[in-house]
Symmetry: C2
């Protein structure tokens, strides 16, 4: 992903810039710091599409009053092990951590906590939330529905989001296993890169506006759709659709958020949904105390063994063998903590526009 035209910035400085922009938009200082931290966690882990590159979208929505900078986050329904949270149309980067905290507190208290969230917005990388749970000797689960971009199998239009899922398991001597994945065949960011480079995309990623398979990334951008994991019927595309649906149903109907094609657009430039069926988008968080199930050190020893066993898998020809989920992100983080975050020219240009409008200096 290294781009010759990228400029590199220390992550701490970018975090300060993002936090200052959020504060400028009326977000309280602690919330602004947390929101910036989540954005930079994406950049550090190499998930460029979900980091500072999205500041402009969040900023646009805050600036035009479409996101509430000072939400009154409330629990609207609760049992000892569950809660439904209304995010008062706050930043997902603020509402998400608050709801995840409720799940983790319940897990500490009675073994597990499960929180459905409505009236929220995009929450950054799903993986950030489950890394928080790891710090508390918990297994965290994190899901969100997102703006529509994916066709269900055999559909010709955008009906679901990329709807990611994350979960993590701690090792003792080994680093944790961290799963953080969208339920589409490919990330939308890869389509954008192909458009920019004028290159075709592999079969199985996308359909055009008529619902036909395409390898032209412009077809997808111009009214086409992403395909669910599995891509087509013979390869299990119905299963990827089922996973996207599961996440949509847990985040949307269960919390009272919008779902499917009615999730609100993330960027100002995208059209609004046809009718509201709930409030905002939705998240779903779970947290389970490891000690509720097994001695934590025993689990961690087994995870170490799992990791070493899977690393020792006989490699397929032309490969170095299987990775452990979380390996690529951890490798990216080691490099980027040392060398800084590379930002491509269009992102830097957007940040300069924000700097001019807000008076927050850039480069920071």
């Amino acid at each position: 992903m290294a781009d010759a035209s990228a400029e590199t910035f220390p992550s701490e400085r970018l975090a300060e810039f993002c936090a200052a922009v959020f504060r400028h938009c009326g977000v309280p200082a602690a919330d602004a710091r947390r929101a910036a931290e989540i954005l930079l966690a994406a950049d550090l882990r190499g998930i460029d599409s979900h980091g500072v590159a999205r500041l402009s979208a969040y900023y646009g929505l805050l600036k035009t009053g479409r996101i509430n900078p000072r939400p009154n986050i409330t629990v609207v329904r609760e049992t000892p092990s569950t809660a439904t949270v209304d995010g008062d149309n706050g930043l997902g980067l603020v509402v998400g951590p608050a709801a995840n905290q409720i799940a983790m507190d319940k897990a500490d208290a009675i073994g597990s906590g499960w929180v459905a969230v409505r009236n929220t917005n995009h929450y950054g990388i799903a993986g950030w939330y489950v890394l928080e749970a790891l710090r508390r000797e918990q297994i965290g689960i994190s899901m969100t529905n997102t703006s529509r971009i994916t066709a269900p199998l055999w559909g010709a239009e955008r009906m679901l989001g990329t709807n990611p899922l994350a979960i993590a398991f701690p090792g003792l001597e080994e680093p944790p296993i961290v799963i953080d994945m969208a339920t589409t065949a490919a990330a939308f960011g890869k389509i954008e890169i192909a458009v920019r480079k004028g290159e075709p995309i592999p079969e199985g990623w996308a359909i055009d506006s008529e619902g036909r398979p395409t390898t032209d990334p412009n077809d997808m951008v111009n009214g086409g759709a992403m395909l669910p994991l599995g891509s087509e019927r013979s390869r299990g595309g119905h299963k990827g659709y089922c996973l996207g649906a599961m996440i949509d149903l847990l985040c949307g109907p269960l919390s009272g958020a919008n779902w499917g094609p009615f999730t609100p657009a993330f960027a100002l430039s995208h059209p609004d949904p046809r009718r509201p069926v709930g409030k905002g988008i939705g998240h779903f968080f779970g947290a389970m105390q490891i000690a509720a199930f097994i001695e934590p050190d025993e689990l961690k020893r087994q995870i170490d063994d799992w990791i070493r066993t899977f690393r020792a898998t006989r490699p397929a020809p032309g490969t170095n063998g299987p990775l452990i989920p979380g390996d690529p992100e951890r490798a990216a983080e080691q490099i980027r903590r040392r060398e800084g975050i590379p930002l491509i020219a269009p992102v830097v240009a957007e940040l300069r526009v924000i700097a001019r409008e807000t008076g927050v200096p850039f480069p920071p």
Copy 2:
């Protein structure tokens, strides 16, 4: 799937036969009835590979003392919202329902229940358990790890099972959405059918014993492996691997069961794992009271709307548009309740062998 050579039997009769065989093996009458019910639920729903066709495998393991017909199922660790269950090496068809019941009881009591199960065996279709939760106004989640047959992405050997996941959501006027899926690109049963018919399999389903992609189903059977959902790196095969791993980790290390390549073989003809790392295979059940999150009728109205909205998706060319998860199984059940369960000749032959050995008459 209709096979000209299939004989058809009423499901009730097949259930009686299965129950009588289980009783013959020492399984208590109520457990035998329940186990038979779960097998026939698979046949009724059109999942032939997981129904009566598997009686022979269960019977073989019971007959040779490798499954305990009268397990003392115990809760070995517990919090108000979680439990770890030891299945005492019982039938998964007996241990699974008992553990699922614990999860559902906890959900009734305090909002949700989450149960990891070790020292158990294959539990039939994952979907049966979540249909039980629906009857109690709960959203059920069901997972199991299974005997090794799937390669991780970039691996050349069998390291994971097919590791299915099920979850269901109730409609008000519409039938429920029922997701029940393996995390492989295709079902192993489809490989078996291709072998029997001497036909090639699509790309993306399997690798041969050297880890090379293959379209010859015999290559997979003879020491090759299934591929995870997504099949290859460019189409998200790492995500299918992540899903299989997630289920393996929740069912295995979290409960103290075996995991990955060390899960015990399901059939007597398969080799044993190289070393035990826990007890038996593992399941993981979740149950969430719907009323804990939202008014149940409000959820059901949203589910109805979701179903109708997705049914109205513009169809891709050459298709009738997206299905709703659970549609194919419900359609199969309508036909099979009326017309009976078709069993192919090799399955009928196996049942006749069991009849001869046990003295339980067949056809029943």
